[in-house]
């Protein structure tokens, strides 16, 4: 206390002009005691944030080095070759072509997205805009609960309930009629497992993710935008379609992309439903495989180091696909935002 008073009086000389400080006051020494906490806090958060970046690079590096052996042996065939034969026989040499897995991953995720995105966005719109307030909380809770159900449970439900139903009610009649002309729906329906059932179950799994994110994004739209639309005589539907959705377009795309990411990487449900065969069939009803399920199925009982390396290459490809799609999604969001938010003048 005494120190501060002496500084105050020393601030001015007799004429009332600023006096030169012989010793600077505490607040200008650059060593404020208040900021001691900031240093470890900053260091801690910086360290944790860089750990995330390091982790991504560590994973990529591990995938890169461990897949070296297979990549030097097979090159691009690992991605685009279609024969997968880990064990050498008299007729077939060892070969690792990951195309069936890559194709299966992309197709099943695409089917999931086509089914889930419109439904989930509609659910999000209902929850955010149209749902009576009494129902909003319980319904939102249920949707979030669906997102939390472990994938093995979706898999079990798919195997025992959905696949038998789908085979008899949809796949068989469809393959018997349309299947004769369109090879995508060709028979025979053996086990019922294949890309289309995988895609449908994946759709169910990503539906709650997209729906709840869409709802959150729509709730962020300022009420003034809705009121502006209502005040010019728009109906509820026009208000949602012309004011609310355009405002949150970027966020909705982000939600869909997050769902896509989940569909691409989903392992357990895909393994249980996809049929796990390395043969490529044009029919979506035929058994197939996905990258994630191939790695999960074979890595634990790989027969050689080359086999293991080839599986890691497939994992590497999956890593690349998700990275690439996420990057594309960022670009798309950036583009949409620039065209809706910005102040181009």
């Amino acid at each position: 206390m005494a120190v501060r008073i002496s500084i105050r009086t020393a601030d001015y000389d007799v004429e009332g002009q600023m006096a030169q400080q012989s010793t600077p006051p505490q607040w200008s020494t650059g060593k404020s005691p208040l900021r001691h906490g900031d240093v470890p806090f900053r260091a801690g958060t910086v360290a944790l944030a860089s750990a995330v970046v390091l982790l991504v690079f560590a994973v990529a590096w591990m995938l890169y080095t461990s897949s070296q052996e297979a990549r030097t042996a097979f090159g691009w065939d690992l991605l685009f070759g279609s024969t997968w034969n880990p064990v050498e026989t008299e007729l077939n040499p060892v070969s690792f072509g990951g195309w069936p897995a890559v194709r299966g991953t992309l197709l099943s995720a695409l089917i999931a997205l086509i089914i889930a995105a419109p439904l989930a966005v509609a659910i999000g719109i209902y929850l955010a805009e149209l749902c009576p307030p009494v129902l909003r909380t319980p319904l939102s809770f249920l949707v979030e609960l669906l997102a939390a159900v472990p994938s093995v449970i979706y898999g079990v439900w798919g195997v025992f309930v959905f696949v038998p139903f789908f085979s008899s009610a949809v796949a068989e009649p469809l393959s018997a009629t349309v299947g004769a002309i369109v090879p995508w729906f060709a028979g025979p329906i053996a086990t019922g497992r294949g890309l289309i059932v995988t895609g449908i179950i994946l759709a169910l799994m990503i539906l709650p993710t997209i729906a709840s994110l869409t709802r959150d994004v729509l709730r962020l739209v300022p009420n003034t935008q809705r009121e502006a639309m209502l005040a010019i005589g728009a109906t509820r539907w026009e208000t949602i379609w012309l004011a609310v959705i355009p405002y949150s377009r970027a966020g909705i795309i982000g939600a869909i992309m997050l769902g896509l990411g989940r569909a691409l990487g989903e392992t357990m449900a895909a393994t249980m439903l996809v049929g796990n065969t390395q043969r490529i069939s044009e029919s979506l009803f035929a058994p197939a495989t996905t990258a994630a399920s191939l790695v999960a199925n074979e890595l634990t009982n790989s027969v050689s180091s080359l086999h293991e390396s080839a599986l890691i290459s497939v994992a590497f490809a999956l890593f690349g696909i998700t990275l690439f799609l996420n990057f594309g999604a960022r670009l798309l969001i950036w583009f949409v935002e620039r065209n809706t938010r910005g102040g181009r003048s």
Binding site: P133, P222, T224, Q225, E227, A228, M229, L230, A231, I232, G233, A234, T235, E238, L242, A243, P246, Y247, T340, R341, G342, G343, R344, S345
Partner: protein, 287 residues
Amino acid sequence: MERAMTLTRGIGFGELVGQRVKTGQLATVDANKIELRNFGFHYGSFQAIRNVSMSMPAHRVTAIIGPSGCGKSTLLRSINRMHDATEGARAEGELRLDGINVYDPSVDSVLLRRRVGMVFQRPNPFQLSIFENVAYGLRVLGIRNRTTLAERVEQSLRRAALWDEVKDRLHSSFGTALSGGQQQRLCIARAIATNPEVILMDEPCSALDPIASLKIEDLIYDLREQFTIIIVTHNMQQAARVSDITAFMLMNREKRYGELIESGPTDELFTKPSDKRTEDYISGQFG
């Protein structure tokens, strides 16, 4: 226009009253556009306003003044039923537009709002081009013809005194990129594009600087020839400058609801208010 300009040039009440309300000059003096009879409004168990009875004549500017929380915005928003989506919102009594109670079950609120436009406290343009901001209302009405749209947009922007400032960048510039005052005039253009009969303004100048506010006030004064304007304002000078009729509302301190203290021609209300509370308020004794 000249008259409007002289009115908005920083003048006191006395001066104002001396030269204003040349009512006879206005083209049409027809019946009351809006009439309220014992009108009240509730949000759930909370009664926001109660027992309001007044008339708002056609082709006049009616100002609703009063301190915060007295229910003036609620009253304004009841006229075009903006509260419809609010849970528990409910009206009582009568609010007649051209003799029809707007809370009658037979009234479609969407069609009502096409006759009663609104300008909000904060400018709320859409994140679209300047042109689309004005054209949106017309598209909602089902107008698709490009020439018609272009004509109506130009006409509305001219009437909102914004045309000259934006005519070169109608399509290249976003409505949200304009200055606050321009955004508010854009919102006025959007409101008048659909050709409503009544325009409600909820403190349209409260987010604007004094110069932008004066422009809006001039505009309001001009627009009353075509529209019936109801404006809510905190600013008593503004009410005195732009309005023909003023209604003063106050929160009833014991019963916690807003009520109408008095309403009447603006010059009378400001010079010889009939209620002591009005006099206290306009002379700045409270509120």
